[in-house]
């Protein structure tokens, strides 16, 4: 397979968003460099082609400081002939009769004009069920998951959620309920209309105003004979959201305009029928009419727009403070710094200073190899005066065997290497395979291709057991999609994904790659995984086979007898696949920086944009240039100034959690924490049935009984979701740190660090220093020395040493990486 079988799976909304930029270049975004006239009206020509249509006009003015701002609601509108159209104070144009008219827009002494043409009033185009009725049912909330869109419907009336199944909705409206919902001879008496307008008692209340455009549209549809569009009706090709991004001052507002692009490329304004939602209400909200309103909280938000299964987004930036920033930019080690500083500049955030050597060292050890530095390693690094020692440390860490142990364990979680699912023998075999891949730094794309096309015995050192875990086509499709492409396709199993473009067809198309995988008992035990010829999956609603296809890609073609998974793997791991590289880049970034550029980290979609899209793109590009070499990629991340920032905040960046203006506090994962306690106390944990000296990050058995690991959130390996690892604190954790007999025992053990130090010739100050290095990997300062000396004043050396060790193990500085 030289070339991928499909073209790039760039989705249409990416295209739509791209198109938006062209349509509205420079408008609405207050980039100062763009020349803005005193007043701009968009669009300059409006066409209305049915009695129930409407069109949103956007008006941009220039503020006192020269920025372009939305003045749509402040502007006044004068219409040359008042009986042709109506224009509301929010800039929405509604037709009254056919003709042409000019609207003069005035604001702050400036004026401009818009030409409006009204057609289709005398003989309006027939109402389309798909394109006109369904959007109203959605916008009015009729088919929402809480109302008639529920699985069991509401009071005997059931619609498909978000209108994903128009024929079923048609059936529900027109034929079921003994046909009482529509009344063609007197449309105004139809139950549909009377309930929606609350003329008849309606549990949901009034959803549509009587005699409104929507009321009239529903009635016209009924009057025209309730046609269901022919099956050949062409779906929309996308939507355009304008403006695509905007910077808002404190309490600033921006009206949105949404257009639907039909199959012929023609645009129609659907602002009043589109659904709007903010992903970050604390920063900017949006109302039903598409008016964005910023709060006083600085940051970024994405306004999600949904219309007939298509989604678009407007990105809102709310800079910190009202004035402009005057930052002296910190130095840059690589492109990561440049792109993060750019972002912080725009948000007027001042990054924290660079962390001291000790903080950097502990952070790098724990993040990279899941292991604390020993006291000797710590002393050595801190004493080293040479330049470039940080970068050298990272390079050394990446070559250590603990790196392979730690990352093998993380991948074993995600790949669900669970002995209860695939037998202990298979779990050992596959764990070894994973560790070997990481140890040899096999390029990530190759690693994934091996998994996706795995075959052979599950007892051999191979990823074959992946297909024992994911034992059905749909199961495999869901797991692969989330794990490697960052697309959570499972919503689409039952209905159109509400925030994405994926529908049931996409879901079953993906499953088609994983059909006919044979899992037969192997003569030597375990299963033998082999690919058969494969077949397309039958769509349960249409009962038609859905041709196998990658997400957003045209149907795949297979050579005779070809393993379908090979075609999929080729498509999925291609550098041109926009999901694949971004997903792994985001995953690795989230590990080292404590938060994904996209969160949740395996949920990439246009409506869930990255907190720094340019950075995510650049990182993806970088990994491609590195030919998917994850160790080199990690080196780049850790060489950046951004990674090396202190976790201590300043006035300006205190509230920032997603722009990397300071290091975040990350809880030590369960296994790492247990190893850290063992190392700090000098007493290894003993795992039942394992040779002495094995560390928790080396244990392949995720079900090994351990209260400690359970309390601190070891994942059960039952899903491919990174979220399965518990990262939330609990009372049980606090109690366990405080009183657990295991930990207390390790502190007290005669051969342990505390007893050894107490018996040594060291002075109390030297003991304190050693304990700080062993736990927090840094020297204590004078105040801390003084505090800890108190422990020695009232009791003997063993008790004092134990108390200090207990205290340090209970600090959050120990339990977290910071």
């Amino acid at each position: 397979m030289a070339a991928p079988t499909f073209p790039s799976p760039l989705s249409s909304h990416f295209v739509a968003i791209g198109a938006t930029v062209c349509l509205l270049s420079g408008m609405g975004t207050n980039v100062k460099a763009v020349e803005t006239p005193g007043l701009r009206v968009y669009p300059s020509q409006v066409q209305l082609d049915s009695p129930e249509s409407s069109s949103q006009v956007l008006v941009f003015g220039r503020s006192s400081d020269g920025n372009s701002v939305d003045v749509t609601r402040q502007a006044t509108f004068q219409v040359s002939e008042a009986d042709i159209i109506q224009i509301s104070s929010m800039g929405r144009v509604i037709p009254l009769k056919e003709g042409r008219v000019e609207v003069r827009v005035n604001w702050n002494g400036n004026s401009s004009t818009v030409a409006v043409e009204v057609k289709g009033i005398a003989s309006p185009p027939a109402v389309s069920f798909h394109h006109d009725v369904i959007p109203i049912l959605s916008k009015a909330g009729c088919n929402s998951g809480g109302c008639h869109g529920k699985a069991e419907g509401q009071n005997g009336f059931k619609l498909s959620v978000f209108g994903y199944d128009p024929p079923a909705d048609y059936e529900a409206l027109v034929n079921s309920g003994r046909g009482r919902r529509v009344f063609p001879s007197a449309p105004e008496n139809s139950l549909l209309v009377r309930k929606a307008t609350a003329e008849a008692p309606h549990g949901g209340g009034r959803k549509i105003e009587p005699d409104s455009r929507w009321d009239r549209l529903l009635q016209r549809w009924i009057r025209e004979g309730m046609s269901l569009d022919p099956p050949s009706i062409k779906p929309l090709s996308g939507i355009v959201v304008e403006p695509p991004e905007v910077t808002l001052e404190v309490l600033g507002t921006q009206q949105l305009r949404v257009s639907a692009i039909d199959a012929n490329g023609a645009l129609r304004c659907v602002t009043s029928e589109a659904d709007f939602q903010s992903n970050n209400e604390a920063i900017a909200g949006v109302d039903r009419q598409g008016l964005i309103a910023a709060t006083a909280v600085p940051g970024e938000a994405a306004i999600l727009v949904r219309y007939l299964g298509h989604v678009g987004v407007c990105r809102v930036t709310r800079p910190n403070g009202s004035g402009s920033s005057d930052l002296s930019r910190p130095s840059e080690s690589n492109f990561i710094d440049r792109l993060v500083w750019d972002k912080l500049d725009r948000l007027h955030l001042i990054p924290s200073s660079v962390a001291d050597d000790a903080s950097f060292m502990r952070r790098a050890f724990v993040d990279t190899i899941g292991t604390l530095p020993t006291t000797n390693e710590a002393r050595g690094f801190l004493a080293d005066q040479s330049t470039g020692k940080r970068s050298r440390l990272v390079a050394e860490l990446l070559q250590r065997p603990e790196y392979s142990d730690y990352w093998a364990q993380r991948w074993s979680d995600l790949l669900r290497i669970d002995k209860d699912t695939i037998t202990p023998q298979s779990a050992v075999a596959m764990s070894r395979w994973v560790r070997g891949q990481i140890d040899h730094n096999v390029p990530y794309d190759q690693f994934v291709r091996s998994i996706l096309t795995a075959q052979g015995s599950t007892l051999s050192q191979s990823p074959a057991a992946f297909f024992q875990v994911h034992s059905e086509p749909e199961k495999a499709a869901r797991a692969v999609s989330q794990l490697f492409l960052g697309v959570r396709i499972e919503c689409a199993q039952c209905h159109h994904h509400p925030f994405e473009r994926w529908d049931q067809k996409d879901y079953f198309a993906l499953a088609g790659f994983f059909t006919d995988i044979k899992r037969s008992p192997h003569p030597l035990g375990g299963l033998k995984i082999a690919a058969g010829a494969g077949s397309d999956v039958i769509h349960p609603r249409t009962t038609q086979p859905v041709p196998a296809a990658g997400l957003g890609a045209p149907p795949a073609t297979f050579a005779m007898g070809q393993d379908r998974r090979q075609v999929f793997a080729q498509w999925a791991t291609s550098p041109e696949n926009p999901y694949f590289t971004r997903t792994i880049v985001n995953r690795v970034w989230a590990h080292y920086f404590g938060r994904g550029l996209v969160e949740p980290i395996d949920d990439l979609r246009a409506t869930n944009p990255a907190s720094n899209e340019r950075l995510l793109d650049a990182l993806a590009q970088h990994l491609i240039e590195l030919r998917f070499d994850l160790k080199s990629f990690t080196q780049s991340l850790l060489d950046s100034q951004v990674y090396q920032l202190s976790s201590e905040v300043n006035e300006s960046n205190r509230i920032d959690e997603q722009n990397y203006s300071h290091a975040l506090w990350k809880p030590l994962p369960a296994e790492v924490l247990l190893d850290a306690i063992s190392q700090a106390t000098g007493i290894a944990e003993e795992f039942n049935g394992w040779p002495k000296g094995y560390r928790a990050i080396q244990v392949w058995d995720n079900k090994l009984p351990s209260h400690f690991l359970e309390v601190f959130g070891r994942p059960r390996r039952e899903t491919v979701c990174a979220c399965e690892r518990g990262t939330e604190p609990s009372i049980a954790q606090a109690l366990h740190l405080m009183n657990a007999p295991g930990t207390i025992g390790k502190i007290h053990e005669p051969s342990g660090r505390a007893a050894q130090l107490a018996q040594s010739e060291l002075t109390p100050d030297a003991i304190i220093e050693e304990l700080y290095l062993a736990t927090l990997s840094r020297f204590p300062d004078q105040g801390e020395q003084q505090l800890m000396r108190q422990a020695f004043e009232s009791q003997d050396r063993p008790a004092a040493t134990e108390d200090i060790l207990w205290t340090l193990l209970n600090t959050k500085e120990f339990v977290f990486n910071h």
Binding site: G145, N280, A282, A740, M788
Partner: protein, 449 residues
Amino acid sequence: MYNINIGQHRHCDGISRRQCIRLGATSLFGGLSLPTLLQLQAKAATTNQLPKAKACIFIMLEGGPSHIDMWDLKPEAPAEIRGPFRPISTAVPGTHISQLLPHCAKVADKFTILRSHSHNDNAHQTGRHWVLTGYPPSFADGQAKGVPFNELYPSIGSIVSRELGEGARVPPYIELPNALGPGGPGFYGAKYAPFTIDNDPSQPDFKIRDLNIPASITDERFERRQRLLAEAERLGVGQPTSGRAHTLSSYYQQAVDLVTSPQARKAFDIQAESSATRERYGYSSIGQSALLARRIVEAGGRFVGIDHGSWDTHTDNFSSHEKTLVPPTDRALSALISDLDDRGMLDDTLVVMMGEMGRTPLINKDAGRDHWSQCQSVILAGGGIKRGAVIGASDKTASFPTTQPYGIQDLLRTIFALLGVDADKVYSTPLGRPVPIVTGGKRIDELLA
């Protein structure tokens, strides 16, 4: 209820001013997600609520108890169905239960038997998930596993913890003597996870794990350590005022409170009960768990889940019911109900005892009974439940309800109504999917006093 209109809440109506201020202060530059806000804004639909119960003790008989051998006997049925046990009369004239339940028979005037509980999931994991979360699991990963693919519904206890959990000296949601299968917080998050007492209170050396300061550490030394720790934290690296490290701080404080508060320690100190009382509940896992549950509720606990296992009697159904399963359960339940009543606590403590299924009326070749979810008996008492009633009836072989069958959602709606929890409240998953506390179902008014 997906129609929570966010736009209308731009000025934070729908959440309290204090929450607003807190949001403003800690909104983490984007750390506060839309779902979080939706959760804060999730609105209660108005329902006729009749909060009677302050707390719920939920006894889960894992594996599926045999309703036809315990609560719904069919002495007229053929021998291959009715089994060897005979009905006995109870404190309620006309109500008969199994000879295996003599203690419960004496207090039958205090509880109600629901004989028409029915659902259609005949497997353990999936059935238990449904019972404990209210959601029939369409586990993408099959029923061998307790966790549905990516979407984890919160359990009753976590819901109660979220809705009613503020302010007690003990954790609001406690499980014992081990974790209930699908008893977790689902997408609600760790904050609403149960505090699991992973220990059997009938054991002579019973104690709450990690609750007690190790014997080698005197109280004085513990206090000294706490002082040292507080100072070390103050002097150490500057810590964030929000996020997980901050949450752990507050949990740490709660843990210190638990460890040092006499009230909390007393709640868990089952040895403080007289031997007569302990005897009354029976020295069994279920008996002492029920007693400890009562102590926890006294200390302000809101939901105590008791897990009691081994009811999956595919073989030797009769000897195991007669010898090992029913007698301790009979003793524990009757003691719990009458003890709560004696203490004036029954009216505001709801007790529920059920399994994930019943058992087949037809006895199999191994003298066992198999899975049967179509007809089961649920025992309810206190907290606004009728006293001494029998609700619903089954056919002459105890195979199907002959009266209105009541499903799991019906039961959960009833439980939540009595606790004053609005079952129609909606929270959104991190993916933005709105999940009502209960979907479908109707409150079972027949059960209410």
